[in-house]
C-alpha cells in the first residue's frame, strides 16, 4: 500500500525546526513505513523557506514544499492556511499532520474549513486501520480516550507536542523541492499579526517542555514560586501552575495546566503543593513520570504519582535543588 502524508513544519530562529515539527515528521515517517510505501512531504512557510529543503530532508521529508514571502516572517493565519491548502492540492495526501503549537492549532481548523476536510485536535496516537487513518485523542478531562475516524480526505491531525518520536537525523536523505506560488486574497490578509511579545526566553514553554515543575495552592504564597523557578533552572524545566495558583493571581493563566489550561505530556511532572483535583489531572495525566510533593498524605495526587514525598514544599524543594546540583 502507498500513502502520502503532508506535514506542516515550523522553523524557529536560533533553534531550527521546532521539536514538535520534528515529532510530526517522525510520526509521518512511521505511518508511511507501516503502510509499506509512500511519501512524506513537508510544507515550510517562511520568509526564507528556500533555505530549508536539505534540513527537512534530513528530518524525514521526501518532498519539501516551500512557500516563501517576505510577509511570512511572522505568522499569517490566512497566508499560512493558503500555503497548506496549495500543498494539499499538489500532494493530495491521505493525512495532514500539524504540530499542536499555537500556529498549528490556529491553522488546522482553517485548512479544515477551506477543504471541507475533518480535523482532530490533541491527537496522542495515529494508527492505520487497513488503509484508513485513525487518531486517538483524550476527552472528558482525560477520563476517556476517543478513537476517531475521518470520512473524507485529507484527514487533518493536530498532534500533541512531546508525544511522538522524531525521526533520527539522516543527512544522506534527499528531498525533491517544490516552490509554491501563492495567490493570497484580501480575506487571507484580513487578519494581521502585528507583533510578538516573548516572556522568559530561557525557560521552555510549559506546553512544549519535556520536564515540568508545577505549583499549586500548597505553595502558600506567590514568593514560593521562586523555589520552583530555581528548580526549573537546575532541571531546564518549564513551570506550570494549578488553577488555584492562577486564580490567586500568583501565576499567569498561560502557565495553567488542567482542564481549562494546558494539556501536557512531559517525561517528568513534579507537582508541588498540588492536591490533584480532577480538573488538574486532566491536563497532566499524560505525563510519563509524576512526582508529588505535598504535606497531606491523603491528597489525590499521590494516587497518580509514580513517586511521592509527604512533606512541606519549603523544606523538600531546597533539599531537592541541592541534591540535583550535587549530581550535575
Amino acid at each position: 500500500m502507498s500513502i502520502n502524508i503532508l506535514v506542516f513544519t515550523e522553523f524557529q530562529e536560533g533553534e531550527g525546526f521546532k521539536k514538535s515539527s520534528r515529532e510530526a515528521l517522525g510520526a509521518a515517517r512511521r505511518i508511511v513505513d507501516e503502510a509499506g510505501g509512500g511519501e512524506v512531504s513537508a510544507v515550510a512557510v517562511s520568509d526564507k523557506a528556500a533555505d530549508f529543503p536539505s534540513t527537512l530532508a534530513a528530518l524525514g521529508a521526501d518532498k519539501v514544499l516551500c512557500a516563501e514571502r517576505p510577509e511570512f516572517c511572522v505568522y499569517s493565519p490566512g497566508g499560512y492556511a493558503a500555503a497548506v491548502v496549495a500543498a494539499v492540492e499538489l500532494v493530495k495526501p491521505a493525512a495532514v499532520l500539524v504540530p499542536g503549537t499555537a500556529p498549528g492549532k490556529d491553522l488546522a481548523p482553517r485548512v479544515s474549513a477551506r477543504l471541507g476536510a475533518p480535523a482532530a485536535t490533541d491527537c496522542v496516537a495515529v494508527e492505520l486501520d487497513g488503509d484508513k487513518i485513525v487518531a486517538v485523542r483524550p476527552a472528558y478531562t482525560g477520563k476517556v480516550q476517543m478513537r476517531v475516524g475521518f470520512k473524507s480526505s485529507p484527514a487533518i491531525l493536530c498532534l500533541r507536542p512531546n508525544v511522538f518520536m522524531p525521526e533520527p537525523e539522516d543527512k544522506s536523505r534527499n528531498a525533491e523541492t517544490v516552490l509554491l506560488n501563492l495567490e493570497l486574497t484580501e480575506k487571507d490578509l484580513a487578519l494581521k499579526i502585528t507583533g510578538l511579545e516573548k516572556q522568559d526566553s530561557e525557560r521552555p514553554d510549559v506546553a512544549e517542555a519535556d520536564l515540568i515543575v508545577s505549583g499549586g495552592r500548597g505553595m502558600r504564597e506567590p514568593e514560593g514560586f521562586r523555589l520552583l523557578e530555581e528548580l526549573s533552572k537546575v532541571l531546564g524545566a518549564g513551570i506550570g501552575a494549578s488553577r488555584a495558583a492562577v486564580d490567586a493571581g500568583w501565576r499567569p493563566h498561560s502557565d495553567q495546566v488542567g482542564q481549562t489550561g494546558k494539556s501536557v505530556s512531559p517525561s517528568l511532572y513534579v507537582a508541588c503543593g498540588i492536591s490533584g483535583a480532577v480538573q488538574h489531572l486532566a491536563g497532566m495525566i499524560g505525563s510519563k513520570c509524576i512526582v508529588a510533593i505535598n504535606k497531606d498524605p491523603e491528597s489525590p495526587i499521590f494516587k497518580v504519582a509514580n513517586y511521592g514525598v509527604v512533606g512541606d514544599v519549603y523544606q523538600v524543594l531546597p533539599a531537592l535543588i541541592e541534591e540535583l546540583k550535587k549530581g550535575s
Binding site: 488546522a108 482532530a120 472528558y140 512526582v291 531537592l320
Partner: protein, 249 residues
C-alpha cells in the same frame, strides 16, 4: 452593534465519567450539565462590548431542548435575547457544528461573534475559527486581551512563551481565552429579568459528520506509584529513582 455570543452546554465532569453502552459516547444519565467554562468569558466580553459601544447581544446555542438552560444563563448575565438551534443529534464533529452555526449567522450582518476558545468534553477548540473561515470573516482564538471599536478589533492572543498582537476590521469572530476578563455572576435580578426575555427556537438539520468517534475507551491505568518517604529524608531516594529507575533526568 449587533453582537452574537455562542454558548454550549457541556457535561460537568467533576463526577465519574462512564462510557455509554454504544461505546462511542459517554453515559449522560447521572451527569450534571453546565455552561461551558470558556463561554463565560465570551458572554462577559459580549456584554462589555455592548456596554462600551451600544447595541444588543444575542446568545445562540446548538443543542437539544436542555441547552436552553445555558442560553438562560447568558440572558441572566445580561444578554438581550436567545436563539436555540435545536437538534437531538449528538454532535462530535466540529466542522458539522460549525456548518450549522455559520449557516445561521452568515446572512445576519453581525459585528462581532464571540465563542469560548474550546468546549470542555470534546476539547477540539476549532469551532470559532471554523465558523469565521466558513463565513469568510477574520477570526482568531486564544484571545487574552481585546479592544473593540466601531472600526475593528485589536488585541493579543496567547502563543508559546508569550503573546501575539493582532488586528482586523469588523465583522470578526473572537474566541476567548480564560482570563480575558472576569465574568460577572448572574444576579437574582438578572435571573428574574431573564424570564421576560425571549429564546427563539429553530429546528436545524445537521450535515453528515466527517469526523466520527469510532470508539471510546478508558485510558490505560497508570502504574501504581509509591511514597518514598517523609520530608527531606526522601529526597536522595527521589533523585536516585528519577535518574536510575525512571531515567527522566
Amino acid at each position: 452593534m449587533n453582537i452574537i455570543v455562542f454558548v454550549k452546554q457541556v457535561a460537568d465532569t467533576e463526577a465519574r465519567v462512564q462510557i455509554a453502552e454504544n461505546g462511542t459516547s459517554i453515559d449522560t444519565r447521572d451527569i450534571n450539565f453546565i455552561l461551558n467554562p470558556f463561554d463565560e468569558f465570551a458572554v462577559e466580553e459580549a456584554l462589555r462590548t455592548r456596554e462600551k459601544l451600544g447595541g444588543q447581544v444575542t446568545a445562540i446555542s446548538l443543542g437539544s431542548e436542555s441547552a436552553a438552560s445555558v442560553i438562560r444563563t447568558a440572558l441572566a448575565m445580561g444578554a438581550d435575547q436567545g436563539l436555540l438551534l435545536k437538534t437531538d443529534l449528538q454532535c462530535d464533529d466540529p466542522l458539522q457544528a460549525a456548518r450549522a452555526l455559520a449557516a445561521e449567522i452568515a446572512g445576519s450582518e453581525f459585528d462581532v461573534a464571540f465563542f469560548g476558545k474550546q468546549a470542555v468534553g470534546n476539547d477540539h477548540g476549532q469551532v470559532g475559527i471554523l465558523v469565521a473561515e466558513l463565513i469568510g470573516v477574520p477570526g482568531i482564538s486564544m484571545v487574552s486581551e481585546l479592544e473593540v471599536t466601531p472600526d475593528g478589533v485589536r488585541g493579543k492572543r496567547e502563543v508559546e512563551g508569550g503573546t501575539e498582537s493582532f488586528e482586523c476590521s469588523l465583522p470578526a469572530v473572537i474566541a476567548t481565552q480564560k482570563g480575558l476578563n472576569e465574568p460577572r455572576y448572574a444576579s437574582l435580578k438578572g435571573r428574574m429579568a431573564a424570564k421576560k426575555k425571549t429564546i427563539e427556537e429553530k429546528e436545524v438539520s445537521l450535515a453528515e459528520p466527517v469526523l466520527v468517534v469510532e470508539a471510546c475507551n478508558y485510558p490505560p491505568q497508570r502504574e501504581r506509584g509509591r511514597i518514598l518517604g517523609q520530608g527531606t529524608e526522601a529526597v536522595p531516594e527521589l533523585v536516585r529513582c528519577l535518574r536510575e529507575e525512571a531515567k527522566v533526568i
